[in-house]
Chain length 164, copies 2
């Protein structure tokens, strides 16, 4: 696996190192729509065969897709999203919402992101613990924080926010 | 402007055509943290000078950044986010949340995304109109829709969802 690093100590950069290559998020988008087979992906994306093969191998290696055989003799695989892969859906939803708003097409959208148990279209919102209701993207800034000592095994944001 | 298209009729693809080039979202991330000047971006990103120049020009052309002079003789510009640019914050927040969870570093995060009026860290959630509370990314699928006739001037998702 030869992912190009950004040399940045940042979650956004680390995420982009994994999913930011050209075509990768569109492959994830298709997998999320159930389009999981090599020839079908090749056809729907119009991507070069070697590029698709490389991207799929990478996505399997980083645990976003898993290779599942659906046929023997010759063996053929599907590339299904793992839980880690499905957790990229907010990234796709955010891109979709920005694209709908700022890169409109003449036709309504061709895909919707749906909550499977309820069969309802999802909505991505940004919340603030002090305000009621969603907040607009333009009221958000990124702020550096001073790092406190790491807590072994921590998953969530349990550290001291000290504004620089 | 020579953005590479994906040839896909999809909001996600159109968004990625604009912001999906290598380094672009990290430039937006830095601008969101107030790091808006060429030499400073060059230094903090470690990016090649010609690549940074090309990305900044593109981001100005597509209306995500605006070039604002901060000095005369010689004139120097800052690259500030427009409203369109700030509306990318959910994309960055989604990448950050996925990166925090799936690409953890040894240290706690170096940046937080904050709601400016309240000075509180934001949270990105995915909502379903039928359920209470946020839903996990793994319960989301992408589903194709049959397009109804376009409604002139529509901004929101006012079209018929017909499952194929």
């Amino acid at each position: 696996m030869a992912l190009r690093g950004y040399g940045q100590d940042c979650s956004i950069a680390r995420a982009l190192e994994v999913v930011g290559e050209r075509w990768t998020l569109l492959i994830v988008r298709n997998a999320m729509a159930g389009d999981c087979r090599f020839e079908s992906l090749l056809d729907s994306l119009g991507i070069a065969r070697n590029v698709l093969a490389q991207r799929l191998n990478t996505l399997v290696e980083v645990g976003i897709l898993e290779r599942v055989p659906y046929r023997d003799r010759p063996v053929r695989h599907e590339y299904r999203l793992t839980v880690r892969g499905r957790e990229l859906s907010p990234v796709l939803a955010a891109l979709m919402q920005w694209g709908d708003r700022h890169c409109p097409a003449e036709q309504p959208p061709g895909h919707l992101m749906m909550h499977t148990p309820c069969d309802q279209p999802i909505e991505l919102v940004v919340l603030c613990p002090s305000c009621e209701g969603p907040i607009p993207g333009r009221e958000i800034v990124s702020r550096p924080v001073t790092r406190s000592a790491p807590v072994a095994g921590q998953q969530s944001r349990e550290w001291t926010l000290e504004h620089r």
